[in-house]
């Protein structure tokens, strides 16, 4: 399930932490209606600028609480301009956070991300189904311990979802996916 929250109704220029607080209430309500694997899209079509207080309050606080308060849900941003993209990236980098951006159905990460996280996220996003740490370890030629660390990190940042599954041999294992 996917739910959209368009921000253009609040204007093209989104100033102040107070405005972000009001919008964050709606984001929280939206996330509460969703289940694990569901997606809340923050649609920035028509938004030209926001200040750092706005970005930190809305995107920062939402991401900081996502994995603990709404485990398994995803927050995706769409329709960033070059400017809002740069500002959001700066704001998230300063908080050590990253968010999923969707551009023409392609998913990418924006914010504070290590190249290895980008590769892991890309492999998950392009996969047709969920992958285990062992699958990804082989696919990206990374040892299993390192891959488990990467996946734990992505999960903790709300960028990948972990679910229980059974291996081909029937053993219990965890698999990971991005959106859905």
């Amino acid at each position: 399930m996917e739910k959209r929250l368009a921000l253009r109704g609040h204007g093209a220029h989104l100033w102040t932490r107070e405005l972000a607080k009001r919008i964050r209430v709606k984001v929280q309500e939206g996330l509460e209606e969703l289940g694990a694997g569901d997606v809340l899209v923050l649609d920035l079509d028509g938004v030209e600028v926001f200040d750092y207080s706005f970005a930190n309050e809305l995107f920062g606080k939402t991401l900081l609480s996502l994995s603990s308060e709404f485990p398994g849900r995803f927050v995706v941003v769409e329709n960033l301009t070059d400017y809002t993209r740069e500002n959001l990236s700066k704001a998230l980098e300063s908080l050590g956070l990253a968010i999923i951006v969707r551009r023409k159905s392609k998913l990418e990460l924006l914010g504070k991300v290590h190249p290895s996280d980008v590769k892991t996220f890309g492999a998950l996003a392009s996969a047709k189904g969920p992958l285990s740490a062992a699958d990804l370890s082989k696919k990206l030629d990374v040892n299993l311990t390192a891959m488990n660390e990467r996946l734990t990190k992505l999960g903790g940042m709300g960028l990948a979802r972990r679910e229980k599954a059974a291996s081909a041999a029937g053993r219990e294992q965890y698999t990971y996916r991005v959106l859905g």
Binding site: Y52, S53, E57, G60, K61
Partner: protein, 285 residues
């Protein structure tokens, strides 16, 4: 036309402290702020002066700003200063009729001294600043957004960190040999040192100059919250990016960044409550 006499002294963010040193208004029962001899007050000095008047005011204590020129009174009226201080202070001679009150907002090159008490008024003020940057200082759209973003951050600080006080903002575009913009933002709250000390991480801050140094680092805030503490850091970075000049004053210290070098010059100044910011930006012409 804004009054400006070349022969008379100029009160700006640079000369304000020497002027304040000579005033000694803090212990007076009826504080007098002597502007005689001054013919020109820049926006940054106007908001500093407004913040000073409010910080001096109290029960049965009404500060006055002394003037010797009718033209200066007219100028202060047009700049919104007289109406801004009227709840707590006066000018002498007094303004008989606030003739210019009706002109408020009519000149896009001028943002009169305006109280900022909450977020409500900010979008309109920021849109006005955006318009001036784009249309009069030829800032490309994204550069104008950079500036409006940091102004928004600093303006929010004036009420976010001060429960019982508020801030002021003023702006003017000057056209001399080089066109430039000056924006002043000032409050009369507790200042950076006291505000930052509320956060246990910064309890050891020992002076106002140390407080300013710490405050311009990313993530420094009164609140122990990773999403706070971006305003002054981005103010300095953005001013540097756009080759402007910024002064941050709090308590007994101020720092000036002249952005041909990424270096701040610290000065000891006479004590004054609150935080006062002066930002000068050149035209992109």
């Amino acid at each position: 036309m804004i009054y400006c006499s070349e022969a008379m002294a100029k009160l700006d963010s640079n000369t304000f402290d020497a002027w304040l040193e000579g005033q000694q208004p803090f212990d007076a029962k009826a504080p007098k702020l002597d502007l005689t001899g001054y013919g020109f007050v820049t926006p940054a000095a106007l908001v500093q002066l407004a913040a000073l008047v409010y910080s001096l005011a109290g029960t049965k204590r009404r500060p006055s700003v002394e003037l010797d020129e009718e033209g200066v009174l007219t100028y202060l009226s047009r700049a919104g200063f007289c109406s801004a201080i009227s709840p707590v202070g006066d000018t002498r001679p007094a303004l008989k009729v606030d003739f210019y009150g009706g002109y408020r907002g009519s000149n896009p090159m001028l943002l009169e001294v305006t109280r900022i008490e909450s977020c409500g008024a900010l979008p309109e003020l920021l849109d006005k600043i955006l318009w001036v940057l784009s249309h009069r200082l030829r800032y490309p759209k994204f550069d104008a957004y950079d500036i409006a973003t940091v102004i928004s951050e600093i303006a929010q600080n004036t009420f976010d960190h001060n429960g019982k006080t508020h801030g002021f903002i003023a702006m003017q575009v000057y056209r001399s040999s080089k066109t430039f913009l000056e924006i002043g933002i000032a409050d009369y709250g507790e200042g950076l040192t006291e505000t930052l000390r509320r956060n246990p991480k910064h309890r050891s801050i020992a002076s106002d100059s140390e407080a300013i140094k710490v405050a311009i680092e990313l993530g420094t805030s009164e609140h122990d919250d990773p999403t706070r503490g971006t305003g002054l850091y981005h103010l300095v970075e953005t001013t540097y990016k756009h080759e402007g000049l910024v002064q941050i004053r709090s308590g007994r210290a101020k720092v000036r960044y002249r952005m041909d070098k990424k270096q701040g010059w610290f000065f000891a100044v006479p004590p004054m409550r609150g935080v006062q910011i002066a930002l000068n930006l050149p035209s992109k012409n």
